[in-house]
Symmetry: C2
Subunit: 645 residues, 2 copies
C-alpha cells in the first residue's frame, strides 16, 4: 500500500459554476449563520447552547449546561469549517471569532487536559464511565480534526496544544496496559481524528491509540453492556435500555463484521478509521475488511442518491435491499461519512469506483442537505416526500417536508459546512510520482510531486458537460496523471496538447504517463447522458420503478413542475429523456423532460378501492436534480417512478 | 330512530363450517389458554400479572403490582368472553373459574366501590388525577361490559353488583355539577359500557354519565393538558410528554371533529358510544356526525382488510389515503372496534353497507389476528410482511413475522376471544316487526318479534358459496325479513317456499314482508366471484397495484405457495382468477390461482441498481385468504400486487 494524500487546501482555488453556489456561501452566509446559531442568536431556531456551555464549563457564566451530550462537537465542526474556509478566503473577522472560541476552549479545559462541557458541568463523577452514550471521545475527535485543520491553515498552535493535552490524557486513560480502561467510543470518530492528529504532530502514540480503539472494539464481554451493568450506571438516552451492541458496531471485532450494521454514521466513521489504520499499519487483512464492508454498503444497503440508513428509528442499517423511499433515514452526516470512506479507499486502492460513490453522495444527498440560501438544512433525506404525512407523532415524524433552521440534534449543518469548505480534498490526490484527478471541478491548483511543483488548472462546466481541460505547467517533471473515468462516462476522448492519445485505463483511471514540461494541456471529454436506472427486484420499495441518473446527479420530480400525487405517475421503460439547460434555475441546471402517464381513479374518486382499473392520462414531466430539490415552493418530491413496458 | 337489537346469544346456536374453526376453539383452547396466561402459567410468554395484581390489591398476596396500567382489563375481557361462551356451551369448570375471579374482584374492590389494581396498589393518591393516561375509566368500562354479559348469561348478580357500586362511585365523581370532575377518559370505552350497564339495569344515571363524557370531551381548555400542568403530575407514559389531544380525540368537541384522528382504537370505541348515545337521546346531529366519521374512516383511512391506523408510532390515523402496506399498524383491536361501530350504525340506520365493512374487518383482520391453533396472536396486521425487516430496534419493530404467545400490552387476544364468542350479535338484529340477517353463518336461532317467537335456521356454506337457506317457523306472525345483500353479491336470486320472489331491496337489505306461518323457507343465493380490486391512485402505497377480493375475504400471497420476493411479482390487469376449493387447507378454503410475472435483475444480480430493465418470467401464483395467513411455514406475505396493462 503506497501513500496518496490530498493536496493542501490552500493550494487549490475553486471557482466553479456548479459548486460556487455553495462554496461562495460558506464565508458569506453559512459560517456567519452558524456562528449566530452557536451563540443562540437566531430567532425561532432550536437553541444550540453550544458556546454558552463552554462559558459555563469555564466558570465564566452561570446557568445549567444544556443541549445534547454531544453539543460541543458543533463548535468543533464549525471551527474545522472555518479553518478550511480561511485557507481559501482569508477573513480576519472570522478568524478573530474562531480564535476567541479557541481561547474559550482553553479556559474550559480542565487542568488534566479533559475537555467536555457535559461531563464537566453535569456529571464530573461519570467521566469515562458511559463510553457507550457519553460521546466524550466523539467530541474529542471533532476537536482534534478542527485542531489539525486550524493549525494547518493558520499555523496557530493554540487549539493543537489544547488537543494534544487532551489526547495525552486519553493515552493515559485508555490502552491495553493494566490499570487503563479497555474501552472504546460508543460513537466512532476519535479513531480517525487521532490519525489526523498524528499526521500533524508526528506523535505516534496518537496513532497507536487510534489502532487500539479498533483492536479492542467488539471484544467479549461487550464493554458497553458491562458499563450498563454497573450498579450506579445512569442512562443518558433512555432508549438505550436493552442496548444492542450492533448499534455501535461493537457486536463483533471489526475484522469479523461481515455486513454494515447499526447506526449508519457510526459505521462509516468507523470504516474511515479502519482504512486509515490499514494504511499506516500496512494491514492487508484490515483493508480487505474495509473492501468487504464497502461493497456491502454500496451494493446492497445504499440508496441511489448515495445515502444510507434505512430505519427511521435508530438511524440504522437494516438488511440487504431494504431501501424504503419514503421512510428511510438517509442522514446527511451518513453520506458525508460515506464520501470520506470512499475517498480513503480510493487513495489506498487507486480504484476510481470509490470516487463514483463519494461523488454520488456529495452531489445528491449532501448537497440536498442544504438550501441554496445556505441557512436551511435537511437531516433526513428520503427519496420520496409527501408533505401531508410528515407530521409529528407518527412513524414519519423524522421526515421533514422543508429544510429547517436548526435541530435539537444538529450534527448535520456544521458537517455540511466542513465538507463543502474542504471540497478540494476530494479533487486531487498525489504521491511522489502520481497526480490523481477525482472530481471535475473548475479550479487552479499547485501540487508538489517528487519535490517539484506542478501547477494544474482544471477548466470545466461539469456536470453540465463532461468536457474537462487540464492545463498543466511543470518544469520537466515525470509523473503519471490519473484522471478518473466515471462509471457513467460514454464516448471518452483524450488528447494531450491537441494530439489524440491512446486510452490507458486502469481501475477506472485514465493514465497519462510522461515527462511534463512547460505548458501542456490535456483535453478530457466524455458524454454525460440522462439514463433510466432500474432497481434490483429485491429492492422491494423500487421494484418495477425507474430513476433518472445524469452523470453524478440523481433526478427527482417535484410538485412545482409536475403537480401533486407524484406516486401516481408512471413512465414507459426506455422513455426518451430530453435535456434542457436552464440557466436561471437553481443557478444553472440541466432539467430532464419526459413523457409519462398519471393514474386517475377508475370510477369513484372519493373511495380508496374500486373494481375498475385506474384510467391513465398522458402528462409531460420535468425532472430536476435531487440535490436541488426543495428550493422552490415546498411540495411533493419523488425519485423512483413506476414503469410500464 | 327506531330500535333494533341483537338476539340474546343463548338463542343462537352457531354450527358453521367456516366459523367452527374458531368458535369450537373458544371453550377448548382459547379461554383455557388465556386463563393460564392470566395466571402466569404459560412458559416463555410475556408475564400477565393480571390475576396476581388483583390478589395484591385484595391484600391476599404480597409483592409489587406489575404490568401495564390497564392490565386489569385483560381479566375483564376474558370474563366477558367466558360469559358469551357459557351462553353457547355451558361449562361448569369454566364458570367456576370465572366465579372465583369475580369473587376476587369483589375482595379487591375498595369500600367506596373503586376498583383498579394500579391506582390501589401503586398510586392511591393519584386516583382520577391522570385520566389521560391512567385508564381507570377504560378498565371500568371493560368491567361493566363483562358484568352485563355475565349477568345476562348466568343470572348471577355478583359482578353486576360490583360494577354498579363502581359506576355509582363514578356518578358521584364525574358530572356537570360543581364539585365534580369535569373530566373524561383518556381512552374511550366506559361510555359505551355505561350504556351497556344501563341496558341491563335500567338505571339511567349510567346512561346520563355516558352522555356526559361525550358532551364534555374536547372542551377548552383541554382537560388532559390541564392535568399535565399540575405541579405534582406524574407521567405514566413518558412518550406522552408534548401530548397532542387529537391522540385521544379530545382536540375538539365530538360534534366538531370532521375526520378520524388519533389512536385508532380510542377513536372507534368513542364512535361506538356516540352511536349509542345518538340512539338513546334520539340525537340526529350526533348520528350525522357518526355517519361523517364512519365515511371518513372507511372511504379514506381504512385498509382493504378492514384495518385502520396507518402509523406504527402511536397506533394512529394519519391523513386520507395514507395506507402504507408494510409499516402500518392495523391493530386487531381497532378492527374489532370498527366492526362494533359498523354493527351499531347498521342497527340505527338499517343500512347494510355498514355490515359490509364490519364483515370485512371480522373475516380478515380480526380472523388474521389469531392462529388456527387458537394460542398465537397478531397485534399488528400489515398487508405486506417481509420477515427479514421485522427486526427489533428498527422502524418496523412493531411488525411481527409470526403470531406471538402473548404481549406486554395484551389488549388484542382477549378482545378476539370476546368478539368470536359473541359472533352471534352480528348475525341478527330485530325489532317488534323486523328481523334482520346481517351475516351468513350456519345457525339455529329463535327470536321474539312482537311478543311471539319465531325460529330461524340458517343453512349455508358461506363464504364458499353465496347460497343461504333460511328455514323460518312461526305461528302466523307478520314481520319483515331483511336479508343483507352484500356489496359484492352478483346474480341475486330469492325464492320463498320455492316460488321465486320479486326482489325488493332497500339500503342493501332484501325485504320479505309477509305473514309467516308454519314452516317456510327462503332460498337466498348470490354469486361470489373472485375479483381484482384497484386502489385509488391517491393511495400511494398501492397505486398501480391490485388486490384479490372474494366475497368478504381479501386474498394474499404467501411465500409457502409462491416463493420469496413477493414484491417482485406482477399481474396483468384483468388476469383471470381460477378458484379451487381445498378441503384440507386451513379447514376448508377457496384458493385462487392466477398467472403472474416475476421480475428478475436485468443484469448484475448482486447490486441494487442497473441500467438494464428487469427481465420477467412467468409464474403460476396461488392466493389464500388473508385471514388464514401465517398458519403454515412462516414467510413473506403480500396483498397488493403490481399490475401491468
Amino acid at each position: 500500500m503506497k501513500h496518496l494524500s490530498s493536496l493542501p487546501l490552500r493550494d487549490i482555488k475553486i471557482n466553479d459554476n456548479f459548486w460556487n453556489r455553495y462554496t461562495k456561501l460558506i464565508p458569506e452566509v453559512i459560517l456567519p449563520y452558524q456562528w449566530n446559531i452557536l451563540n443562540d442568536r437566531v430567532p425561532d431556531a432550536p437553541a444550540s447552547y453550544c458556546l454558552r456551555n463552554f462559558r459555563i464549563a469555564a466558570k465564566e457564566e452561570n446557568g445549567e449546561r444544556l443541549g445534547t451530550v454531544f453539543q460541543d462537537s458543533d463548535a468543533y465542526k464549525w471551527l474545522e469549517a472555518v479553518a478550511y474556509s480561511l485557507a481559501a478566503d482569508p477573513d480576519p473577522e472570522l478568524e478573530k471569532n474562531a480564535d476567541e472560541v479557541i481561547a474559550l476552549l482553553g479556559r474550559a479545559q480542565q487542568p488534566d487536559g479533559y475537555l467536555n462541557t457535559y461531563f464537566t458541568c453535569i456529571a464530573p463523577e461519570n467521566r469515562w464511565r458511559n463510553l457507550c452514550e457519553g460521546h466524550e471521545l466523539y467530541c474529542a475527535g471533532h476537536l482534534f480534526e478542527a485542531a489539525a485543520a486550524y493549525y494547518e491553515t493558520t499555523g496557530k498552535r493554540k487549539i493543537l496544544d489544547i488537543s494534544c493535552r487532551f489526547a495525552d490524557l486519553l493515552c493515559t486513560v485508555f490502552g491495553p496496559e493494566e490499570g487503563k480502561l479497555h474501552g472504546y467510543p460508543g460513537h466512532p470518530e476519535v479513531e480517525l481524528a487521532l490519525v489526523r492528529l498524528y499526521q500533524v504532530t508526528g506523535n505516534d502514540t496518537y496513532l497507536n491509540l487510534g489502532k487500539y480503539f479498533l483492536d479492542v472494539r467488539g471484544g467479549k464481554p461487550n464493554y458497553f453492556l458491562q458499563e450498563m451493568s454497573q450498579p450506579d450506571f445512569h442512562h443518558i438516552f433512555p432508549e438505550f435500555r436493552g442496548y444492542d451492541p450492533a448499534y455501535s458496531q461493537s457486536h463483533l471485532p471489526v475484522l469479523l463484521q461481515k455486513t454494515a450494521e447499526g447506526h449508519a454514521v457510526r459505521a462509516v466513521y468507523l470504516y474511515c478509521a479502519m482504512t486509515d489504520i490499514a494504511y499506516y499499519y500496512q494491514d492487508k487483512q484490515l483493508l480487505e475488511q474495509c473492501v468487504r464492508l464497502w461493497y456491502n454498503v454500496v451494493q446492497k444497503r445504499m440508496y441511489i442518491t448515495g445515502s444510507i440508513g434505512s430505519s427511521g428509528f435508530l438511524e440504522r442499517f437494516t438488511v440487504d435491499y431494504d431501501l424504503p423511499n419514503d421512510s428511510g433515514y438517509s442522514e446527511t452526516c451518513a453520506s458525508i461519512g460515506l464520501a470520506l470512506f470512499g475517498l480513503r479507499m480510493a487513495r489506498l486502492t487507486r480504484d476510481a469506483s470509490y470516487i463514483d460513490i463519494a461523488e454520488r453522495a456529495l452531489y445528491n444527498t449532501v448537497r440536498g442537505g442544504i438550501a441554496l440560501t445556505g441557512d436551511r438544512y435537511f437531516y433526513v433525506n428520503p427519496l420520496e416526500v409527501w408533505p401531508d404525512i410528515c407530521i409529528e407523532n407518527t412513524s414519519r415524524e423524522h421526515v421533514k417536508a422543508v429544510r429547517q433552521k436548526w435541530f435539537d440534534v444538529a450534527c448535520c449543518p456544521t458537517n455540511i459546512a466542513r465538507t463543502f469548505s474542504s471540497l478540494g480534498q476530494y479533487i486531487y490526490s498525489a504521491s511522489e510520482n502520481e497526480l490523481f484527478v477525482n472530481l471535475f471541478i473548475n479550479n487552479k491548483a499547485s501540487a508538489v510531486i517528487g519535490g517539484s511543483t506542478v501547477s494544474i488548472n482544471t477548466i470545466t462546466d461539469y456536470p453540465k458537460t463532461g468536457h474537462v481541460i487540464f492545463e498543466v505547467e511543470a518544469d520537466s517533471m515525470e509523473f503519471t496523471l490519473f484522471i478518473r473515468v466515471p462509471d457513467f462516462a460514454e464516448k471518452l476522448l483524450v488528447s494531450v496538447n491537441n494530439n489524440s492519445a491512446d486510452l490507458k485505463i486502469e481501475n477506472g483511471y485514465c493514465m497519462i504517463s510522461k515527462v511534463w514540461n512547460g505548458k501542456e494541456s490535456v483535453d478530457f471529454s466524455f458524454e454525460i447522458r440522462s439514463k433510466l436506472i432500474y432497481a434490483n427486484p429485491q429492492v422491494r420499495a423500487s421494484v418495477g420503478k425507474a430513476a433518472i441518473l445524469r452523470g453524478p446527479e440523481v433526478y427527482c420530480l417535484e410538485e412545482a413542475d409536475n403537480g401533486t400525487q407524484l406516486a401516481a405517475l408512471s413512465i414507459s421503460e426506455g422513455v426518451s429523456l430530453r435535456e434542457e439547460w436552464q440557466e436561471e434555475l437553481f443557478g444553472g441546471t440541466m432539467v430532464v423532460h419526459l413523457e409519462g402517464e398519471k393514474s386517475l381513479p377508475g370510477d369513484n374518486e372519493n373511495t380508496s378501492y374500486s373494481t375498475a382499473p385506474n384510467k391513465k392520462e398522458k402528462i409531460d414531466l420535468t425532472a430536476i436534480p435531487y440535490g436541488s430539490w426543495n428550493n422552490r415552493t415546498p411540495g411533493e418530491m419523488i425519485v423512483w417512478l413506476h414503469t410500464s413496458k
